[in-house]
Each structure stands twice: as structure tokens, then as C-alpha cells.
């Protein structure tokens, strides 16, 4: 009993998580007048530091997904970067730009846009450009005081983006005050929505003219935002042993929606809508794939390599040495 207690204390004292950005879920990052809330975190490695295998527990970094929760109303130009401190910006919260007035807005490709996100927003340049977005809330563009350009390259789920959340009738249409514009080839993606009958489309130079006009013809503004895309989020797939080794663990970090809680936007009082997911493949037994919710590299002097990996899943805690051997608790 004493030995177990000592081992736990030893592990607790000596083990630590070495992360460059010490952020946890729910933390808020503020930068350039924009606030981001961390939705989910997971561990990644830097490709330059660990090109083949992870060299130590200190080579992990905290990465994940963040959501924009506040934009300063005083900002003239709003640039929402694709990444913020190794966190990928995945969405915009409900009513983020409600009754705001900005000159230009740059948006990255997003996973979601909350309900009423751009409702009654006034854009000085006269147009709001929306790129690929996986999911849209209710009445996202209700009363948007600008044209709306769908700069998409794949199918988007419009859902109830152009309908009001009306109790009596779920089909009360609402859209921007200006016209909706889209690239001609992408018309098929919005065909099921009533906006199809109310939109303009163009190709080639005519379409580029629209985009340029939306950013007041400022190429630098567009390039700045595009350059941000190059920010490295780190490698989400890594191995505990060199790639040629026949044993070890291959770990793939990702995030998933929490079942039953729906989409991340909506009720912001709930803390966890997304959770980390680590898919672990044992190199020796390729067919054996296990998913865990949490992953902690643990420093342990008793191990030959000086550290081991610990996973938390549905079945509880499991510890593995770097060669993939299950350690006894």
C-alpha cells in the first residue's frame, strides 16, 4: 500500500505537461480587439523538432480549436485569422456582429457561424465575403446591411441561415438587405434554398471584381489575411518510435462533437461542446485501434526512455511504454 502511495506521489510530483501555450478549454485569448474562446485542446508536435519520432515529453505543444466570442465595435477593419496561437479558429459565436458597423471584414474558412451572427451588421465596403463554412445557425444574415458574397468552393449547409427562428412558422424568410452573390459554378450548392432565386452569379473577372470591391480594392488587405493561413498548427499525427520501428504507438490527435449536446454554438454557458480525441494505433498490432479522450505524456525515471504515455478513455486510464507495451498500474 505504501509502495503504491509513494509511486503515485512520485508520479504526480515529477510528471508535468510541457506545453508552449498553456491554455485550457474555456480560456479566452484576446488579440487585436478580438476575443477567442478555447473550445477544445489536444497535444501536437512540431515537425521540425520531431520529424520522425517524439524525442521527449517536452516536445508536445497545446493546440486545438477556438471560437470568436467578441469583436471590438470600434475596429474599422476586422481580420479574423485562420489561427490564433496554434489554435484553429473554427467558428463565430451567436450574434457576434449584431448591430456592428465595420468597414471591411475578413473571415477565414470556418466550421460554424452562430445564430444571428451577422444580423443587422453594416459593412462600409458594401459587401460581406463568406468563405466555406460547414454549418450555419438560424437567421445568420438577418438584416445584414450589405451585399453577401458566398466565396465557396464546396457545398455548404445553409440550414436555417436564411430563415427566422420563428415559433409560429419555421419558414419565415430573412436575408441581407443587399443582394446575394455567388460564383456561377457554385450555384448548384445553394439551389435548395430560396436565396437561389434571389441571387446574382458571375464567373472569372466579373466575380473577382465583386471580391475586390468588397475589400475596397485593397490587395494588401486580402494578402495579409491570406498570409495568416500559413501559420503552423503543428503535427496532429505522431509516433512514439521511429517510423521504421516495428513497435510503438501511432497517435492521431483530433476533436469531435460531444454527442447529445449538438453544435458548439448556441448556449455558451455550456463548457464543453467539443472534446479531444486521440486515436491510438499499435504498430505491432495494426488492426488494434483505440480511441481515448485525453492524453498525457508522463515523466518517469523508472522507464528506460525516461517517460511514458497515459490515456484516459471510457474504460478508464491506460498507460503505455513508448514501444506500445501496456504498463501495469
Amino acid at each position: 500500500m505504501m509502495r503504491i502511495a509513494l509511486a503515485i506521489i512520485f508520479t504526480f510530483v515529477l510528471s508535468f505537461r510541457l506545453m508552449a501555450d498553456d491554455c485550457t478549454v474555456g480560456d479566452v485569448i484576446e488579440k487585436d480587439g478580438i476575443s477567442y474562446k478555447i473550445l477544445v485542446t489536444y497535444l501536437v508536435v512540431d515537425k521540425k523538432e520531431s520529424p520522425d519520432a517524439i524525442e521527449g515529453p517536452d516536445k508536445f505543444y497545446c493546440s486545438g480549436e477556438a471560437m470568436v466570442i467578441h469583436v471590438d465595435k470600434k475596429l474599422r477593419d476586422v481580420v479574423i485569422p485562420p489561427t490564433i496561437n496554434r489554435f484553429k479558429v473554427v467558428g463565430l459565436t451567436d450574434s457576434l456582429f449584431y448591430k456592428h458597423k465595420h468597414d471591411r471584414i475578413w473571415l477565414p474558412e470556418l466550421q460554424f457561424m452562430g445564430s444571428g451572427c451577422f444580423a443587422k451588421l453594416k459593412v462600409g465596403s458594401g459587401a460581406l465575403v463568406v468563405h466555406n463554412v460547414a454549418n450555419l445557425g438560424v437567421g445568420v444574415f438577418d438584416g445584414l446591411d450589405a451585399e453577401l458574397i458566398f466565396d465557396i468552393t464546396r457545398k455548404i449547409n445553409l440550414g436555417k441561415a436564411f430563415f427566422k427562428n420563428h415559433k409560429d412558422s419555421a419558414h419565415v424568410q430573412c436575408g441581407p438587405k443587399g443582394v446575394v452573390k455567388i460564383r456561377t459554378d457554385m450555384l448548384r450548392y445553394i439551389k435548395p434554398c430560396w436565396v437561389y432565386d434571389e441571387c446574382y452569379s458571375a464567373t472569372s473577372d466579373n466575380y473577382k471584381k465583386w471580391i475586390r470591391k468588397a475589400f475596397n480594392g485593397d490587395e494588401a488587405f486580402m494578402k495579409n489575411a491570406l498570409n495568416d493561413r500559413g501559420y503552423s498548427l503543428g503535427m496532429r499525427s505522431y509516433s512514439t518510435t521511429p517510423s521504421k520501428a516495428k513497435d510503438g504507438l501511432l497517435i492521431i490527435a483530433s476533436a469531435e462533437n460531444v454527442k447529445g449536446l449538438g453544435f458548439p454554438w448556441g448556449n455558451l454557458t455550456r463548457d464543453y461542446y467539443r472534446q479531444s480525441k486521440y486515436t491510438v494505433v499499435n504498430k505491432k498490432k495494426r488492426r488494434k485501434v483505440t480511441c481515448y479522450r485525453d492524453f498525457i505524456p508522463v515523466v518517469d525515471a523508472t522507464q528506460r526512455s525516461g517517460w511514458y504515455v497515459r490515456f484516459l478513455g471510457k474504460e478508464g486510464e491506460e498507460r503505455f511504454s513508448l514501444n506500445g507495451k501496456l504498463l501495469k498500474k
Partner: protein, 369 residues
């Protein structure tokens, strides 16, 4: 200045009352039309169960006399014509064939409504045209000539048709072209010569609103004359006139002269090829082709060049045409067959003959013959 010139032109040559010849212009509701053909045809009136003799023809638009107004080009325009048989219809009905060269060049209009089924739009027809309402709706036209839309600042909504129209250098001058809009579904059905990358497409709701704003009048009129614009192809242009009520009455068919050559070359598109009238006369048992044809209650006249022939409604040729002319040398249809000098000389000769006869009679009386 241009409008003034057009008005002067209209006043000098094109008064409606005198529009009885091909190439003559007349103005109606701010639009100047040029007559390209005239004919008389019989048409069955289902309501009255009776055949009517109608005066009809074809015109094309050659200009506009108003500014800052909504101008409507109807599918059919009615105008009194000296060519009309006064006892049948007061006015002749002219089908609008197309829009002539530079017809609306430099004009400033509130809106312009163009009907469906036109056969051509001439060179530079809308050059520098300004539509203050913002949209010019152009329906599918069989032939579109060069630089029609050059210099236009308004949007142009192209309507899809059943057939691909033929455009000849219409969209070549890309720098001077306005923005072209089509319905989403029509983007592959528009003029093949038009680069699809230049097109903007719009949803059906926007399309309907634009049409309602700028095309309401024409839609109503087209509905009224649906039959007229449906049968507007060149192939179908043929009118049969049967004179009299007996089986052996002459049959007159009106058709386009040199139709095939016109289709092939596309030359003189503003001026349609003249009509010719084929007269199958059972009385003489001959089939002749004439350039002109006109009729009244008792006789009809056929003309070829400067030669005119007169027939009774039974087809019997009238040899003594002098008897048909009035004192001023005009035939019953108002044609000046004898010139005024000839009539004057003839009258003088008659007077001299009369005086001479009088003198001879006086002498006879004096000498007791």
C-alpha cells in the same frame, strides 16, 4: 439634334396618311417605323363566321422621337395607310420585324420594351443608349448585327429563346460592352457567340421583377397577339387572297422575293426583301408574278416595274385603261399613271381639237354645208 432631324424627316416624308409605299416611314407613340412590305389578305373571323379582307404589312423600327420616356415597341402597330381599302379596315396592321441600324443610338429613355419574336436588330442599334430605369430587356432575336450594345451604360437582360440567335460581331468590342444578365438556367441557352465568362446570372425572382418593371406593356400585348408573333418566321410568310366568291376567281399569293438569297447573305437586313405577288388567273389561264398588287370593289391592279395591268375581280383583263383614269391622270387606286405634263398636253390637244372642230363647224355653217 438627332431627334430634331428625325422629326423633320418624319414630317417631310413619313406622314402616316401618306404611308403607302415600301421604305416610307411613319411615327407612332414616339417610335419611327419604316414600312418594309404591304399586302392585302383575307382572314377568317371565327366570331362572325366571315372572311375579312385586311390590310397588313411589315415594318421595322428606325428611330425614336422622344427622350426620358418609356417607349414600347408593340408586336403589331396599327396605322392608316393609303394602301388600305377604305371600305374594309380603316387602318392597316403592320407586324414589327426588327430594329434598324442605329435606331436608338444615343437616346436617353426611361425604359424600352422590345417584343419577342423580332427577326433582327441592326448595326449599333443601341449604341450609347441610356436607360434611366437601369435595365434593358432584350428578348431572343433571330439575327443580331454588329456592335449593337457598344457604349451602353445600363444593364442588359438577355432573354432565352427557343432557337439560338445568330450574332455577327455583336460582342466583339468587349471594352465597350455593358453588363449582360441572364437567368441562371439560361446561361447555356443564350447567344453562342457571347463569351459565357462575361455573363452575370440572376435568380428567377430578380428576373421577374425586372421584367415586370420594364416589360409589362409588351407582355400584355404579346399575350393579345400571341398568334401573330408565333407565326413570324420567314417560312410562314405567305398570304393567299382569293378575289370574288366563285371558284374560277383569281388566286393571289404574296411571298418574299429572293428569300433564300436573303437568308444566306444576310445583307440589307434592315430592309427586308420585297414581296412579290403570284396571280393565278383562271380567266386567262395564266400564272404571272407581279411586284405590286392592289384591289377595290370592282377591279384589281397588278404592277411589274412601271407596267401596270388592270383586271376585273373575275380576272378579265381591262384593255382600255385610259377609261379608268380621272381628269388628273390618276387611276382608281390613286396612282399617277399619266404625268401632269402629259395630262396637260393631252388636255391642250383636246382643247385644240375641240377648238378646231368648233371652227370647222362654224365654217360649215357659214358655207351652208
Amino acid at each position: 439634334m438627332k431627334n430634331v432631324m428625325i422629326i423633320l424627316f418624319v414630317l417631310l416624308f413619313c406622314l402616316p396618311a401618306s404611308a403607302d409605299q415600301r421604305g416610307v416611314s411613319f411615327e407612332k407613340d414616339g417610335v419611327v417605323y419604316v414600312i418594309s412590305s404591304e399586302m392585302i389578305a383575307r382572314r377568317y373571323d371565327r366570331v362572325r363566321d366571315k372572311w375579312d379582307i385586311v390590310n397588313m404589312g411589315e415594318v421595322y423600327v428606325s428611330g425614336v422621337t422622344v427622350t426620358d420616356s418609356f417607349v414600347t415597341i408593340p408586336p403589331i402597330v396599327y396605322c392608316s395607310s393609303a394602301y388600305c381599302r377604305k371600305d374594309t379596315t380603316v387602318v392597316a396592321e403592320y407586324r414589327v420585324l426588327g430594329i434598324g441600324e442605329k435606331a436608338f443610338a444615343g437616346a436617353r429613355l426611361k425604359g424600352l420594351a422590345i417584343p419577342r419574336g423580332l427577326r433582327f436588330i441592326g448595326n449599333e442599334a443601341f449604341r450609347d443608349l441610356e436607360i434611366t430605369d437601369g435595365v434593358l430587356v432584350v428578348p431572343s432575336v433571330k439575327k443580331m448585327k454588329a456592335n449593337i450594345f457598344d457604349g451602353m451604360k445600363s444593364k442588359v437582360l438577355l432573354l432565352g429563346g427557343f432557337d439560338y440567335p445568330v450574332a455577327e460581331k455583336t460582342f466583339d468590342n468587349k471594352d465597350a460592352l455593358p453588363d449582360f444578365y441572364v437567368l441562371h438556367e439560361d446561361r447555356n441557352l443564350i447567344v453562342p457567340e457571347l463569351d459565357k465568362r462575361m455573363l452575370y446570372t440572376i435568380g428567377v425572382n430578380i428576373y421577374t421583377r425586372w421584367l415586370e418593371n420594364s416589360w409589362r406593356t409588351v407582355i400584355t400585348q404579346v399575350d393579345n397577339y400571341k398568334k401573330s408573333y408565333k407565326t413570324s418566321s420567314l417560312e410562314e410568310f405567305s398570304f393567299l387572297t382569293i378575289l370574288g366568291s366563285r371558284e374560277r376567281s383569281p388566286k393571289i399569293t404574296c411571298r418574299y422575293k429572293s428569300y433564300r438569297r436573303f437568308e444566306k447573305d444576310g445583307t440589307d437586313i434592315d430592309m427586308m426583301p420585297p414581296c412579290e405577288f403570284v396571280c393565278k388567273n383562271p380567266y386567262t389561264n395564266k400564272k404571272d408574278t407581279y411586284d405590286e398588287f392592289v384591289m377595290n370593289e370592282t377591279l384589281f391592279r397588278c404592277g411589274k416595274g412601271k407596267n401596270y395591268s388592270y383586271f376585273t375581280l373575275d380576272g378579265k383583263p381591262i384593255v382600255n385603261t385610259e377609261g379608268l383614269l380621272d381628269g388628273s391622270g390618276r387611276d382608281p387606286f390613286g396612282l399617277q399613271v399619266r404625268s401632269k405634263e402629259e395630262v396637260k398636253k393631252k388636255n391642250e390637244a383636246k382643247e385644240r381639237e375641240h377648238n378646231l372642230n368648233k371652227k370647222v363647224d362654224d365654217l360649215k355653217k357659214a358655207f351652208g354645208f
